[in-house]
């Protein structure tokens, strides 16, 4: 068996993307600075988008790029910068309970790996091909109800998050105005 002949560009591509994903996920888990964690998350999400493309899920990959990297990651960066006082040089990101967390994570990994490798999956061979057209068909036929419900949930989440953030702002304003009132009365 010629070993070199079995190394296809696809294999190299997979291992490249997989190493990017795993290394930047380790960066998210272990970086001492919260901003570095957020930027490492960029590598993980981008790598997973590449893996979607590798599997022929081109639409899912583009959605991952648009929503995760363009939306969620920017939102997380906003939260990082808003919840750390401006001027604080070190955005601390302490870890705790490694003695408990590491065995749990490793044990879970071993369990999933054992289950994965021990199961005879009923494989079907399918060449990687663009699936956007079939996906759009599925969204407008069999999956129409979940699709509409998803848009409803997005609307609810949008309004709900605005209400939560706004109420906090209003309460803060009330406390501040009460404080000035007391000071004026005193």
């Amino acid at each position: 068996m010629d070993l070199i002949a079995t190394i296809t560009p696809g294999t190299l591509f997979f291992y490249l993307l997989a190493s990017v994903v795993v290394l930047s996920a380790l960066g998210v888990a272990l970086a001492p600075n919260l901003l570095y964690s957020a930027f490492a998350l960029l590598g993980t999400l981008g790598g997973v988008a590449g893996l979607y493309m590798f599997l022929g899920a081109d639409f899912v990959g583009i959605v991952q790029l648009l929503i995760y990297i363009g939306g969620i990651l920017v939102l997380i960066l906003f939260a990082v910068l808003l919840t750390n006082r401006i001027g604080e040089v070190k955005l601390s990101n302490p870890s705790a309970g490694i003695m408990l967390g590491a065995p749990a994570a490793v044990g879970m990994l071993a369990l999933i790996a054992k289950a994965t490798l021990g199961t005879p999956w009923p494989l079907t061979e399918e060449a990687a091909a663009p699936t956007t057209a079939r996906l759009g068909d599925a969204f407008l036929r069999e999956q129409l109800l979940p699709f509409e419900l998803a848009s409803l949930i997005l609307l609810m989440a949008l309004v709900g998050s605005m209400v939560i953030a706004r109420r906090a702002a209003k309460e803060e304003g009330k406390i501040a105005s009460d404080g000035t009132h007391d000071r004026l009365a005193g």
Binding site: V28, S37, Y68, G97, A105, T124
Partner: protein
């Protein structure tokens, strides 16, 4: 050796298991609420990757990709709400350290 070099379903399942384990580690060890959220994003990505891999190698259709898109939509909603809550907690406690926000326990 050829089994390792020929990329198949097991490669993706093991990769997403690693991603899930790292996410679990992040969620259970970080004290900063935003960092915990990043761990949740890792776990969601691992799940979506599993769905897409199964739809490619086992189902041979797009059902798994539909699930992956819904997972991404849910993740967007979850991130918006969670970050609004994090901002509210920060305004109230002046900190988002999970250890310091323990009023309910005291």
């Amino acid at each position: 050796m050829t089994a390792i070099l020929q990329v198949g379903l097991n490669h993706f399942l093991i990769l997403s298991a690693i991603l899930f384990a790292i996410g679990l580690f992040t969620v259970s060890t970080r004290r900063n609420a935003v960092a915990v959220l990043m761990g949740v994003e890792l776990i969601l990505n691992a799940g979506a990757l599993n769905f897409v891999a199964f739809s490619h190698y086992v189902e041979g259709s797009v059902g798994g990709q539909v699930f992956a898109v819904f997972i991404i939509v849910m993740a967007a909603a979850e991130a918006a709400i969670a970050l609004a809550i994090v901002l509210a907690i920060f305004r109230h406690f002046r900190s988002i350290d999970a250890v310091e926000t323990s009023t309910l326990r005291d």
